[in-house]
């Protein structure tokens, strides 16, 4: 019996003899230690690129956080939200300038961009902690470029914003005050990136999705332009142009087709790719932005419709030049209130051909799917705020369905890249800087480069009355030149998520948008009826209440909210 007892006791104490019984390492996950090497740096760096599209870990519907800034056009004068008013009521509230601090679009976008900033910080922190940081200078430069991009977006959207450094990241000190602009930090990142990035792609650094020296220089110039630092902006943007690395695509619309991706005009783009599975690398943020109806085969969900105001901006005179002072007073013919079954005659007046790369309108070819049949493709009803037009630039061209992704319901995840900066944008920014520094003729020549390309591009349709020409008389009046450059930006870059920030930096938020609301009311009375008056507070998005609540007092609300 004693033996038996001894055995029992031994068994009973056996489990306690294993000292490491209660030490269990995580399985299938990467610890910090496993990332402390070149592979780890590349993994985290790729992770930082990955959030360019806004898709982050955690909260934020895909369409709230979209990297292509489509809804920034909705709160400017380029686009309406689309679909019916009751669909995505939070976006309706934004569109009509009823901006609440709890709006999930604003919250989601904020979270997505700070995720980007900090994924870049994470790369820098990892490199800083490595044995030989200089070994990773190219990776560090890419991380700083990305951080510059994310911070730029944060800056132009919220204006009074906090800056989170890699040191803050390392210390878990994420509650920093939003005392004002962070332009100097943004410039510092782009400058550093410029210094350490390869001058050109090639060898092991050949992928078009990664920035090179001139990419960083273009973004630096852009950042300076936004601050009104015209001279330095001019010099940096001119340098990019003079690098000879870029040229305008001969076909304007190739910029918005998968076969033209990463062409000569590509500077920096979110690289999207669709596949037959879940299309994780497709444009998830743009999943709602497809025309419904039979023409394109039952897509969803009818969001992101160009405005009448944008369509009007493409009107030209007999000289082929934009109507810089009067375009907004007359509406081109539109099919608002007209059903597909009813007759409609498209506008017969002279138009810039770029209208039909940008605005899908009744009677005109729609990306190769045939003449757009109007209402049956538009989800918004006649009484909703969104009007009769469809977006073309983010839509596939017929026959490009191999680049169509699949989502859960009728939405698609596009594989078409989104340009953060394309060469035409650089030229027009350089033109603007030239004009602001008194080099009006240099500005004219830049603008004409862009117009020449538009003149010579294949036409989207043969029927409209396209009349376009370059500015053939010398520019002598700075105010007129400024007006011409600014208008050129609108029609060259329409529906590319840029317009809101142009209006803001020009100090025109209140005047332009209130005038837009009044003009748009001619075509869409319900939009004018619903819209609140735009005030100076609308020059910056509200800091999300969620962010203020979680900041332990570090963040304060933007004025007026």
């Amino acid at each position: 019996m004693k033996k038996f007892l001894t055995i029992l006791l031994s068994v009973s104490l056996l489990v306690s003899c294993a000292d490491d019984f209660t030490e269990i390492d995580p399985v299938g996950a990467l610890s910090d230690a496993s990332l402390q090497n070149a592979t780890g740096v590349d993994l985290l760096l790729t992770g930082a690129y990955s959030v360019l599209d806004g898709v982050r870990n955690g909260y934020g519907a895909d369409w709230h956080i979209s990297g292509d800034n489509w809804w920034m056009d909705v709160i400017a004068d380029d686009a309406h939200k689309g679909s019916t008013d009751g669909d995505q009521p939070d976006l309706l509230a934004l569109e009509v300038f009823n901006w609440e601090t709890t709006n999930p679009y604003v919250d989601g976008k904020w979270l997505a961009l700070f995720a980007g900033v900090n994924r870049a910080n994470g790369v820098l922190d990892l490199i800083n902690k490595s044995d030989n940081p200089s070994e990773f200078s190219t990776q560090a430069a890419q991380a700083r470029f990305l951080r510059g991009h994310f911070n730029f977006e944060i800056q132009v959207m919220w204006v009074n914003v906090p800056y989170i450094s890699e040191q803050n990241f390392a210390d878990n000190e994420f509650n920093q005050p939003n005392s004002g602009p962070i332009w100097s930090q943004i410039e510092a990142d782009f400058t550093a990136a410029m210094n350490d990035l390869p001058a050109s792609r090639g060898g092991s650094y050949s992928e078009p999705g990664r920035p090179i020296k001139s990419t960083a220089q273009a973004y630096l110039g852009k950042a300076q332009l936004y601050q009104g630092k015209w001279a330095s902006a001019s010099s940096n943007l001119d340098a990019v142009i003079n690098s000879g690395q870029y040229s305008l695509n001969s076909d304007y619309f190739a910029n918005f087709r998968s076969d033209g991706e990463n062409g000569s005009e590509h500077i920096f783009a979110i690289q999207f790719a669709a596949d037959a599975g879940q299309s994780f690398q497709g444009n998830r943020g743009g999943t709602l932005n497809w025309p419904i109806g039979p023409m394109t085969g039952g897509m969803c969900c009818g969001f992101y419709q160009p405005t009448q105001d944008l369509a009007n901006a493409f009107q030209t005179g007999a000289d082929g030049l934009p109507l810089l002072d009067t375009w907004m007073n007359n509406d081109i013919a539109n099919d608002a209130g007209i059903n597909t079954s009813e007759a409609f005659t498209p506008h017969t007046g002279p138009l810039d051909p770029r209208i039909d790369y940008t605005v899908g309108r009744r009677g005109i070819d729609f990306n190769g799917y045939g003449a757009f049949t109007g209402k049956e493709n538009i989800r918004a009803s006649f009484t909703d705020v969104s009007g009769p037009y469809a977006n073309k630039k983010s839509m596939y061209t017929a026959g490009d369905d191999g680049n169509r992704g699949t989502g859960g319901w009728g939405e698609q995840r596009s594989g078409i890249n989104f340009h953060i900066i394309r060469y035409a944008d650089v030229i027009l920014m350089a033109a603007e800087a030239a004009v602001e520094t008194g080099n009006l003729e240099k500005g004219r020549s830049y603008v004409n480069q862009v117009r020449t390309r538009a003149m010579n591009s294949p036409r989207a349709d043969s029927s409209p009355n396209y009349v376009i020409d370059t500015y053939n008389s010398a520019w002598t009046d700075a105010a007129t030149a400024r007006k011409a450059v600014r208008h050129e930006r609108r029609i060259e870059l329409g529906m590319e998520g840029k317009r809101l920030f142009d209006i803001r930096r020009w100090g025109q938020t209140v005047s332009t948008l209130n005038a837009f609301i009044a003009n748009e009311g001619r075509t869409i009375p319900s939009f004018q009826a619903r819209a609140f008056t735009v005030q100076s507070k609308h020059s910056a998005l509200p800091i999300p209440l969620n962010a203020i609540d979680q900041s332990d007092g570090a963040l304060s609300q933007n004025p007026g909210y």
Binding site: L30, G58, L111, A269, M299, I548
Partner: protein, 1033 residues
């Protein structure tokens, strides 16, 4: 600690000797041994206590008298003749204090208890048909709150003494020694197998140390009796279940009128694709919608049903369901062995169409004696179940805002839907279509829980027990998403998701138990070790594009798309413990218990991974004192306890380190805009090496009382639980300007919970032979956060932002937002009020909380609390002759509910959808006494887009939980079917609910500590009328 264990063991062994003269056994009326009974030679100081098997031996000679006594039994005296063996059967004395209570690794008589341990009258509780045995706890134990889970098979939310942590507040379940925090565990247990349920509410739970702070529920299953003839019991019931209550929704004409009035109120000209553009809306006969293409839609149209009244979606959603339960148990025993076995089959289709739960479980418990010293035994239950309700919550939400115009099916019999957004028939899915299409989806669970034990009686006073147990759960989940061509946002490609995981856990415990008495002292010592290890592994795969939407085709291999791994994970945790407990009593009057447990967990970094949890309690049975005057009290006992307990259920393993993941969806990037993507990683969660134990200190003071010949018995416990080092994710560390990683878990504050729980019971019989009893349980538990490292924590985000907030000086998870103080009546009213965006006549008027003349985010305040002032239940039982009747009510007073569903059916958030009929009471210039603002087409009035007091509703309710009437057949009648007894009964569950809450269900089962009381769409509680029969053979 280990050395101490050995030393104690040796010391205990030293006590062991005996001298044979008279021996025998002491049993109860059912031949069960009575351990610890005292055997005393009268007039001497010679005395012994019986061992674990009720055996004794004592040195005594002929002519002397032996007195056998044990708590709970009438004592008996025998004069010794010439026999050497005296076996005694003691009669049970009926007294509250005589109940045997399982208090952890031991049993104790209630008389000697000094901690707060509640027990369920299982016989009474399980008369009521229940698919989940945990439902039986509802209202049965003071201090325990049980909120129905809703649908069949759903786990109810069980809380003991309210909330004491920002973490998981789920109690620990101990099923025959196997421990789990899985709230689903009780649906795997056949109620007919349950012998006893004890609820350890205070420091008594500290014996479970690191897992004890939310209380412990100990479930003991039956195992038959020695020397018991084989018996069998068949219990079967069949019931008709129905939904308890659904909101009244607008019919088509009311919807049309509501639409018109909304448009008019917004200053627009009414026009609607369905209702026309005339001066008043016209409900169409056929919907004006584009019918999808395809042969089955040829010639179809969607007709507005019910003579133009339209579809009542809640009515369509719920149908009476026939639920069935069959339980067969058998048990018996010889002198060497005993067993209990059972089979149970549950078929519980839900009240919501196409949903349901089905399960089969078996149990085998047995125990055998090997020689005199060794007892071996086992418990094993295996369950196979199938859940089908994955679409249920979504369907409730859809029903809450589906247009009444849309019929369930079109004229060709296809499902009808919203067709196109331009048709303005809303955007909700057809909930019936969703449920029907999901009817082949399932979660199948295979679960095994079992243990094997060995008891070795080293001496009659010293026993060693070793117990090894396993629990295993294997999930097989299938979810096929079919195309829905009738929907305005039709699914473009079908897909199949397969999910599977396995959780297995083993545990080994070894205890050494010593019992003895010295004079009037009785001592019961236990020391033990325990090791637990839990492993999880699982993954999910999704593949799209299937040619056939037929279950026979639902295999991943049949899809045409690229398969995607949607989830994969593996984790483990372990716990190693040493524990000791001592129970002492003196003279049947003074009682004390001391317990200490040391736990070492893998959940924390090594430096902080172990902790010691002590507890102690004392009790004094004053009524047993000679001087006690029993003119008022028949029984009076005072108890006090103190204990420290831990909570290692803290949201994950490996919380001390940063963890990164490689995720195709979240961290890969395609650097060339095509071809294969490059894999990347992101930091998914931040670690905190300083994280340490959250500790709850529980103090309890109680009185047990008996009056009127103990016919009236009462227990009141006053308690205070103080929790320090609250573990929660620190959202201030990872705020919105941070990386998209999960925030580190931190010890962020303290809270306390105070209150009382009380039970009263009166039982008596009348001269006419009627037995009756009336009982009541009352619980009050208030909590307050006393310390936080940040100003406050907000609950999770919703379409109206965070709904709750947790801050110092307030209860956990109170409702926070703007306070609606009325509705603007006039322009003057607006002008005289603080400046408010969206202000207008007929619109909400918010309180200017900070008095700055502007309504903005600074004007948010506490607008309600989800914590009840009081929980109560009333129980009434009676029997006379063959008839018996019982009735059971329970209720909650003073709690608020944040009805998030109001956004769907009381606001225009989804304008084209339907509303509840409460909107008929919306503000108009002539209807101003209302809480609903004027109808509008949009939410652009800042009314429904952020949290405010409109969403906060009184959640008090009173429910007739059960009404049962039974009839026991005459024995001679029963004998005709070969039975010993037979009883038939009617049972009604949730027959009546009294509440002002206008949502679906005032019972809001939320498991998260920071969203308590937030009602969002969920499967509503069912009511049921059933007939049952119970036959014993």
């Amino acid at each position: 600690m280990k050395k101490a264990f050995l030393v104690v063991l040796m010391l205990l062994s030293g006590f062991v000797y005996s001298q044979d003269s008279i021996s025998g056994s002491v049993t109860d009326g059912n031949n069960n041994p009575i351990p610890g009974a005292s055997v005393v030679v009268d007039g001497t100081n010679r005395g012994v206590v019986t061992d674990f098997d009720g055996n004794y031996s004592i040195n005594a000679s002929t002519g002397e008298q032996l007195t056998f006594s044990s708590l709970g039994f009438s004592s008996q005296t025998v004069t010794i003749g010439n026999q050497t063996q005296i076996n005694i059967s003691l009669a049970e004395a009926v007294d509250l204090l005589d109940e045997v209570v399982v208090s952890g690794y031991q049993t104790q008589q209630r008389r000697t208890l000094s901690g707060a341990i509640g027990t369920v009258d299982t016989e009474e509780a399980f008369k009521t048909p229940a698919t989940n045995a945990a439902e039986a706890l509802q209202g049965r134990v003071a201090g325990v709150q049980v909120v129905s889970g809703g649908g069949p098979g759903y786990a109810p939310v069980v809380r003991i003494r309210g909330y004491s942590t920002t973490n998981d507040n789920s109690p620990l379940w101990v099923i025959d020694g196997v421990q789990t925090t899985d709230a689903n565990i009780m649906r795997d247990i056949n109620p007919k197998d349950i012998e006893q349920i004890s609820v350890l509410k205070d420091g008594a739970a500290a014996i479970y140390g690191a897992r004890a702070s939310n209380g412990v529920i100990v479930v003991t299953t039956k195992r038959g009796q020695y020397n018991q003839e084989n018996t069998m019991e068949v219990d079967a019931w069949v019931g008709i279940a129905n939904v308890t209550r659904t909101p009244d929704m607008l019919n088509a004409q009311e919807h049309a009128d509501m639409t018109w009035q909304s448009i008019l109120n917004d200053g627009n000209v009414p026009s609607h694709p369905q209702y026309g553009s005339g001066p008043s809306p016209v409900v169409p006969d056929l919907l004006n919608v584009p019918i999808p293409s395809g042969a089955e839609y040829e010639g179809a149209s969607a007709r507005v049903m019910n003579g133009g009244m339209g579809t009542d979606w809640f009515d369509e959603l719920f149908d009476p369901a026939t639920q069935k339960n069959l339980s067969i148990t058998a048990s018996g025993g010889s002198s060497q062995g005993r067993y209990h076995m059972s089979l149970r089959y549950v078929d519980a289709p839900g009240t919501m169409v196409y949903t349901g739960f089905e399960s089969v479980s078996t149990r085998l418990n047995s125990e055998f004696k090997i020689g005199d010293k060794i007892t071996v035994g086992q418990n094993l239950t295996a369950t196979f179940d199938k859940e089908n309700y994955s679409s249920a919550n979504g369907a409730v939400q859809s029903a809450a805002f589906s247009s009444p115009l849309v019929p369930v099916r079109d004229t060709n019999g296809n499902f009808a839907g919203t067709y196109a957004n331009s048709a303005r028939t809303g955007i909700a899915n057809n909930p019936i279509a969703d449920l029907a299409r999901g009817s082949d989806n399932y979660n199948k669970n295979t679960k095994i829980i079992g243990d094997v034990y060995l008891k070795y009686e080293i001496t009659p006073k010293l026993r060693f027990t070793s117990n090894a147990g396993v629990s295993m759960r294997d999930l097989d989940g299938r979810y096929f998403t079919k195309l829905n061509p009738e929907h305005g946002e039709a699914i473009s490609v079908n897909d199949l998701a397969e999910n599977t995981f396995t959780i297995n856990e083993w545990k080994v415990s070894n205890t050494l138990n010593f019992r003895d008495s010295f004079g009037e002292h009785t001592l019961d010592l236990l020391i033990g070790t325990e090791a637990v290890k839990n492993n999880y592994k699982g993954f999910g795969i999704k593949r799209n594009d299937y040619l056939f939407e037929d279950p026979g085709f639902y295999q991943l291999g049949n899809g045409a798309g690229t398969p995607v791994v949607t989830s994969s994970g593996e984790s483990s945790w372990s716990l190693f413990s040493l524990f000791a407990t001592a129970n002492w009593s003196y003279g049947g009057k003074y009682f004390a218990t001391a317990t200490v447990r040391q736990d070492d967990t893998s959940r924390f970094a090594k430096a902080t991974s172990d902790a010691v949890f002590p507890s102690g309690s004392v009790g004094w049975l004053m009524s047993a004192e000679d001087w006690f005057d029993s003119s008022i009290f028949d029984t009076l006992k005072v108890r006090a306890s103190y204990g420290e307990m831990g909570n290692q259920n803290i949201g994950g393993s490996n919380l001390d380190v940063n963890i990164s993941y490689i995720s195709e969806g979240l961290s890969w990037y395609n650097f060339s805009g095509g071809g294969a993507a490059t894999s990347g990683a992101y930091v998914a969660s931040k670690g905190n090496t300083n994280l340490t134990w959250e500790t709850t200190t529980s103090t309890n003071f109680a009185l047990d009382m008996g009056f009127m010949d103990n016919k009236l018995q009462a227990t009141i416990d006053l308690f205070k639980n103080e929790t320090t080092g609250l573990v929660a994710q620190d959202t201030k560390k990872i705020s919105t300007t941070a990386i998209d990683a999960g925030a580190p878990y931190t010890n962020l504050g303290s809270m306390e919970s105070t209150g009382f729980d009380m039970s009263l019971n009166y039982s008596d019989s009348t001269s006419s032979g009627m037995n009756y009893s009336i009982g009541a349980e009352i619980t009050k538990a208030s909590n307050e956060v006393t310390e936080l490292i940040s100003d406050f924590y907000a609950g999770g985000g919703t379409r109206i932002g965070a709904i709750t907030r947790t801050s110092v000086g307030e209860p956990i998870s109170y409702f926070y937002g703007r306070n609606v103080i009325g509705i603007f009546e006039s322009a003057a009213d607006i002008a005289s009020h603080a400046q408010q965006d969206g202000a207008g006549i007929g619109r909400f008027k918010y309180e200017d909380v900070n008095g700055d003349g502007v309504i903005n985010d600074g004007d948010r305040t506490k607008i309600g609390s989800p914590h009840p002032d009081l929980l109560y239940s009333i129980n009434f039982n009676m029997s006379k002759g063959p008839w018996d009747m019982s009735m059971f009510w329970n209720g909650s007073v003073g709690n608020d509910i944040a009805d998030y569903t109001a956004l769907y059916y009381e606001s225009p958030y989804f304008f084209n959808g339907n509303r509840s009929t409460v909107v008929l009471d919306s503000w108009t210039p002539t209807n101003t006494n209302t809480d609903l603002p004027a109808l509008s087409e949009t939410t652009l009035n800042n009314e429904f887009t952020s949290m405010n007091s409109f969403f906060v509703r009184d959640g008090s309710y009173l429910r007739l939980r059960t009404l049962q009437i039974g009839y026991t057949l005459d024995e001679s009648l029963a004998a005709k079917i070969g039975a010993k007894s037979a009883r038939v009964y009617y049972n009604g569950t949730n027959l009546l609910t009294l509440t002002d809450f206008r949502g679906l269900d005032p019972e809001v089962p939320r498991s998260g500590a920071l969203d308590i009381g937030v009602y969002s769409s969920q499967y509503p509680t069912q009511s049921m009328s059933s007939l049952g029969i119970n036959i014993k053979f």
